[in-house]
Subunit: 328 residues, 2 copies
């Protein structure tokens, strides 16, 4: 699909808010289900009995998280996915997605529609729906997603509960975001494919819900494994040691020399779940994740003390800072 | 207070996300109350029994909704207020505010802190607290607020419930936003005061909750009274006629000649509540609003038919389109 940019030349279908709301109400399945119709001042969300709403909000900015010319359906999918991932990291099941779109005046309405459809498609795969949002003119495209999920309060998993003796586990593979960033920076590579790779990741929604019964602490590695380990150690007041030999590194990074491999591994943008589980719950956690089609790997341990470390070839080093910090 | 702009010259305190989260956790009262600590991937919101979450999201863009140099505490207050107003218009009580801040790299951290403090102060006046958010670098400042409120499903007030025979009522006064926009455009006026006036408005939170028991339909007039009447008539499939002689027009607009007065009245940015109530409930609604310190004025009627009209000097005219449309 050719994707006219948000400020592209085709201005035949500018965004007009009333018309956009009518389109939303016609297009989105939740239009007929919600407690309030789509396009109202606010949306009401039905929660399963005994649960509390779990809410997160994330901004994607053109030039950083997507590029002019990125397919809007992929931008929408990524907008849903970044927030779905955060809600899943608390063990919550997602229910509703809200989108705030800041787009240049005269933007093509079909661009927004494709974006909303992409967001809805990704949300719907995990049982959530786009229930509302806002559109505002602005000189620089920004997409802000908010996801509302539901969890039983006693099943909520924060970042502070890691205890000495816990094992450190991760879903999926490590280094996906780093490899995509590397491809994006490399001259002569297919830039479009690298951008698409950065936008197409799988939020570990089912895995997060599956781990909620076993994990003492959990977060997503949206800023990379290294940053996740730093945050987990600081929030829980423990020492976390990652065993490099155990890391399930993506194939594209495994063949790189050590320094380049580490740079890719710890760069960021992985969107896996990082959790600590007590040893007695490891088998249960692995089974629960396998049952939803996921993969769980034990990659380290929690011990008394403070800080984030990497154990590599029988040496223990401080965990590197994530690569994106040098650009932040 | 002198307010260094988000991209101001004072770069001594750039935003650093971990440090900003620590500051939030220390500063915001909800840090010690929430089901999850501030700065976690997501926040969990405690809901009163029997209620459902009511969610809205709104974007404020520099250059449109605030200006470079606007005091950050007022931008924060306005960010809370626009979303508090939407949640109140559904009859819901606000609980939590989430803020996504897109700011140029090197922005002064104190600017963000003053913004968050302003948002928290306004939220706290209505029983809500800032529970989370996101900060991202971007070339153009944008603030996106999301408010989560709570309402009993049977007390939710949408836009679709207006019935022929209902009376049309509004809180507060009409034309506040139009007068502020007029002042902003006028040469030689105090621009700072006009900007401050646009950012300082009172969300009718208590009035919305008070009206929930009586109103058939309700929305806020964030886009002005005229647009509100258009939306209400369209959503409910009715004819709504506003009696111009009954409008509680702000003093600054009352002295203007007819055309200028109408332009100010229907411009937009009022953030009052517009509701329809059956005649038998009018006295109850008036009492309930008065009890929370508010003001309710009957300004028109709902009849069979379609469309939005203005009755002025015994003529009935189509309701004007809001003034901001000519700029949109």
């Amino acid at each position: 699909m050719t994707a006219p940019g948000p400020a592209g030349r085709r201005r035949s279908h500018p965004i007009e808010e009333r018309a956009f709301h009518r389109w939303l109400a016609r297009t989105l399945p939740a239009g007929s289900e919600g407690l309030l119709p789509l396009g109202d001042d606010a949306a009401a969300v039905r929660l399963p009995p005994g649960t509390v709403p779990v809410v997160t909000t994330d901004a994607l900015v053109e030039g950083t998280h997507f590029l002019r010319g990125s397919p809007p359906s992929l931008i929408g999918a990524a907008a849903s996915a970044v927030s779905l991932s955060d809600v899943a990291a608390k063990g919550a099941a997602p229910l509703a997605v809200f989108l705030a779109l800041i787009l240049p005046r005269g933007s093509d309405r079909r661009w927004s529609e494709a974006l909303v459809r992409g967001a809805e498609r990704t949300a719907a795969r995990f049982g959530a729906h786009v229930l509302g949002g806002d559109t505002k003119p602005g000189p620089w495209p920004v997409v802000v997603s908010t996801v509302v999920g539901a969890a039983r309060p006693q099943r909520l998993v924060g970042r502070t509960g890691a205890r000495p003796g816990d094992l450190l586990v991760t879903t999926g593979e490590v280094g996906r975001g780093g490899v995509a960033a590397r491809d994006l920076a490399a001259p002569g590579r297919a830039r479009g494919a690298a951008v698409a790779a950065m936008l197409q990741f799988e939020p570990r929604v089912r895995e997060g819900i599956a781990l909620a019964g076993s994990a003492h602490a959990m977060l997503d590695t949206s800023d990379g494994l290294a940053e996740g380990v730093h945050l987990l150690a600081a929030a829980s007041g423990v020492r976390v040691v990652v065993d490099e030999a155990r890391l399930p590194i993506v194939a594209e990074a495994r063949r790189l020399p050590v320094r380049a491999r580490r740079a890719a591994t710890f760069y960021g943008g992985d969107y896996e779940l990082l959790a600590t589980v007590p040893p007695a719950r490891l088998a249960t956690a692995e089974r629960a994740v396998r049952r939803v089609g996921g993969r769980l790997t034990r990659i380290g341990a929690v011990t008394p003390g403070r800080g984030a470390f990497l154990s590599a070839r029988s040496k223990t080093l401080p965990m590197p800072e994530p690569g994106w910090r040098s650009f932040a």
